[in-house]
């Protein structure tokens, strides 16, 4: 018994570094953020008590609701096509024998490695201004109303943000879903084929139910990441999400309130609410996908 106990102590010692780091860089900032949400602080002058002022301010803040809407919209328009594309690709890759499959897989994954700043520059060159590539192309094709003022259109910039996110992330999602598919017992497929099932039937009746856990993982991580989108829209236009805040996400709003307007108390309040929104959305999607299982 004694030997076991002393071994357990070593176990704790080995996991200790993680918890120390987590306490300092994870828990402490969260507690500090809660504290800041009841303060008024510009970062330089002494903090003063604000009571519930920041929370009342949030209740009347249309801009925050607007940014939450932007974030959800950009995320949904990105996420649904992303999962569909990934499912189709994963099905093709796992059901059919394609030459150079790994080359395809790598190519689809590549956009994920490009930094958001490069993406911003790339899509600026393609669409920003009357001399941009897209406008030159449209003018050359004789489109009457060209050149278009793409970056002044809220709908277009929102769609473009979603498109870039889709383009960056569908390869990653494909890889994750394929990993889920490989973990399925091949004998299930064999049994299904012997019973005369078609490829589509096998995918819908066997693959899909068995990768539910993977899909839950993909959805929840995507919600968590998606509700915090910052770099792509901020680099596409600017941190204010121009034109007319069309692509200002909640994270960008927090940044602007903190570092542009120097309201750290209010920025903390907004981040706490965003944290709650993400928690609730993750919980709901988890429940929803689990319930279907029963």
């Amino acid at each position: 018994m004694k030997g076991k106990k002393s071994q357990a102590v070593w176990g704790y010692i080995f996991i200790l570094p993680f918890f120390i780091v987590f306490l300092i860089f994870g828990i402490y900032p969260i507690i500090y953020t809660v504290m800041l949400s009841f303060k008024s602080w510009d970062g330089f002058r002494p903090m003063t008590d604000a009571g519930l002022a920041n929370w009342y301010r949030l209740l009347e803040d249309d801009v925050f609701i607007h940014t939450l809407g932007n974030t959800l919209l950009i995320w949904i328009v990105d996420f649904i096509p992303q999962v569909l594309t990934a499912l189709v690709l994963a099905m093709i890759f796992s059901q059919m024998k394609i030459k150079g499959m790994s080359a395809f897989r790598m190519t689809y994954y590549l956009p994920n490695l490009i930094t958001a700043a490069s993406m911003g520059l790339l899509f600026n060159l393609l669409f920003n201004g009357s001399g941009s590539t897209a406008n030159q192309l449209l003018c050359a094709l004789g489109v009457d109303s060209a050149p278009f003022d793409f970056f002044n259109s809220p709908a277009f910039t929102r769609f473009l943000s979603s498109y870039i996110l889709w383009w960056m992330w569908f390869g990653y999602t494909t890889v994750i879903i394929m990993a889920g598919i490989t973990s399925i017992d091949p004998s299930l497929y064999e049994a299904a084929y012997i019973d005369g099932a078609g490829k589509m039937q096998v995918f819908v009746k066997i693959t899909m139910p068995l990768i539910r856990e993977t899909l839950i993982y993909v959805t929840i991580t995507s919600i968590i990441g998606g509700m915090q989108i910052f770099d792509v829209p901020a680099n596409l236009t600017n941190v204010n999400g121009d034109p007319q805040r069309a692509i200002m996400t909640s994270s960008m709003y927090i940044y602007v309130q903190g570092f542009n307007n120097y309201s750290f108390g209010y920025a903390s309040t907004v981040s706490l609410v965003l944290f709650l929104v993400i928690a609730v959305l993750s919980f709901l999607s988890f429940k929803l996908m689990r319930r279907n299982e029963a």
Partner: protein
């Protein structure tokens, strides 16, 4: 054990003196820590170290967007604050008013006796609302119209800077010239933002007076000017620093940039290869100043004397600024240096024109002191409202949007 060793090694590195920013002293040599927003200040360091053997200067470059955040962290923690730090003109007023910089009028700095040598707008920018001088710059950034000589000659019949300046004197005349340019397939200006930076200087009152929002009539007029410019395609339709904005330098269809002296130094001059000798600089219809890096001394620096030596070398030493200007082509903050440079040879890019002559003329005029701590945000909000206006929102709706943005960002500002 190796992991624990590695962990200890990392912790040791993180807590070692090399990671804390404040000045350090070793063998009688003081090392000053300077946080800079750009590389330019490094040009002063070799000369300074050579003439001040007891002082070393360590410059850390931090981008504008991160500077304030990084300063907040070190100032809040009270350790690792650099001896000197700077910020861009649009953001400096906030730091100046926040009281993080030493008051340079006091001992041991006594800056008062030198201030007459510096262009007044630079001093104004560095002075807080109580009259304390907190920061100065080694640059002054007078505005200008940087235009193409060949296009001017072809369309307007002259490339003379004085004549071009007269042709652009009022908004009406400006629009007439823009229409003439358009008829020849030439775009008048690069960006509405360029125009805005100039027009915002035409106000008589700052954005906020006694806690109340002030929308100067000039700004309302600007809304219509911008709408006309945009609807007629007199601009490239991009923001500053967009790739197409930069590419305008070598294009055959852009007439001018309305930019401060740094616009010539950083945008036009380095890119002008095909258009070498085809550029000229004219005084802008509205004299204005925009940009510049402002430097100040941390109020609690342990080495005020050494910090002052470096500060005054950069901002007040004529020989140092002259050397710097010769190296970089920048327009500097000491009057005597700019006057000396105005007597020298002109620039090849400008077909021999000496830009210092034009800029000195402009700097000698009067400028309204308009800076507030809100400027960078409020300018952005207003420009957004202008865009909403030319995209079809009514003028009242656009102004209401501006006011809503101001209310959202700064609930303390009273809007009547």
């Amino acid at each position: 054990m190796r992991r624990i060793g590695l962990f200890l090694l990392v912790m040791l590195t993180l807590t070692s003196p090399a990671f804390s920013a404040g000045a350090s002293e070793e063998g009688g040599v003081v090392t000053l820590e300077v946080w800079s927003r750009g590389e330019e200040i490094k040009s002063f360091v070799p000369g300074f170290e050579a003439s001040h053997p007891g002082i070393k200067v360590n410059v850390t470059v931090i981008p504008d967007a991160e500077m304030t955040a990084k300063l907040m962290t070190v100032i809040a923690s009270g350790s690792g604050v650099p001896d000197l730090f700077m910020q861009e003109a649009n953001y400096i007023t906030y730091l100046v008013e926040a009281g993080v910089y030493a008051d340079l009028r006091e001992e041991p700095y006594n800056i008062g006796q030198y201030l007459d040598d510096v262009w007044q707008p630079v001093v104004d920018m560095g002075t807080d609302s109580t009259g304390a001088v907190r920061v100065l710059s080694w640059q002054a950034s007078p505005g200008s119209v940087i235009y193409r000589r060949d296009i001017a000659t072809a369309v307007l019949g002259t490339d003379d800077p004085a004549k071009i300046a007269t042709m652009l004197d009022t908004p009406e005349e400006f629009l007439d010239v823009a229409a003439e340019m358009k008829a020849q397939g030439i775009t008048m200006i690069s960006s509405i933002k360029d125009l805005f930076d100039m027009m915002v200087a035409a106000r008589t009152e700052p954005w906020v007076v006694d806690g109340k929002l002030v929308i100067d009539p000039v700004m309302i007029e600007f809304m219509d000017l911008a709408k006309t410019v945009h609807e007629n395609g007199y601009d490239l339709g991009v923001d500053q620093w967009a790739p197409e904005w930069n590419a305008g330098v070598e294009s055959d269809s852009l007439f001018c940039y309305i930019l401060p002296s740094w616009g010539y130094q950083f945008v036009v001059k380095p890119a002008a290869v095909k258009t070498m000798g085809q550029w000229a600089i004219a005084e802008p219809p509205v004299p204005y100043i925009n940009g510049g890096s402002y430097l100040g001394i941390w109020r609690e620096t342990e080495h005020p004397q050494e910090a002052w030596e470096f500060f005054s070398y950069v901002c007040l030493n004529e020989d140092a600024q002259y050397e710097y200007a010769k190296q970089t082509g920048d327009y500097v903050s000491l009057k005597a240096v700019d006057e000396r440079l105005a007597g020298e040879d002109g620039e090849a890019v400008l077909a021999g024109q000496n830009p210092y002559v034009t800029y000195n003329d402009e700097m000698s005029g009067d400028f309204n002191k308009l800076n507030t701590i809100y400027d960078s945000s409020l300018n952005t909000f207003f420009l957004n409202a202008v865009k909403a206006y030319y995209d079809g929102a009514g003028k009242d709706a656009a102004i209401a949007q501006f006011e809503a943005d101001v209310r959202n960002a700064y609930p303390e500002i009273v809007i009547e």
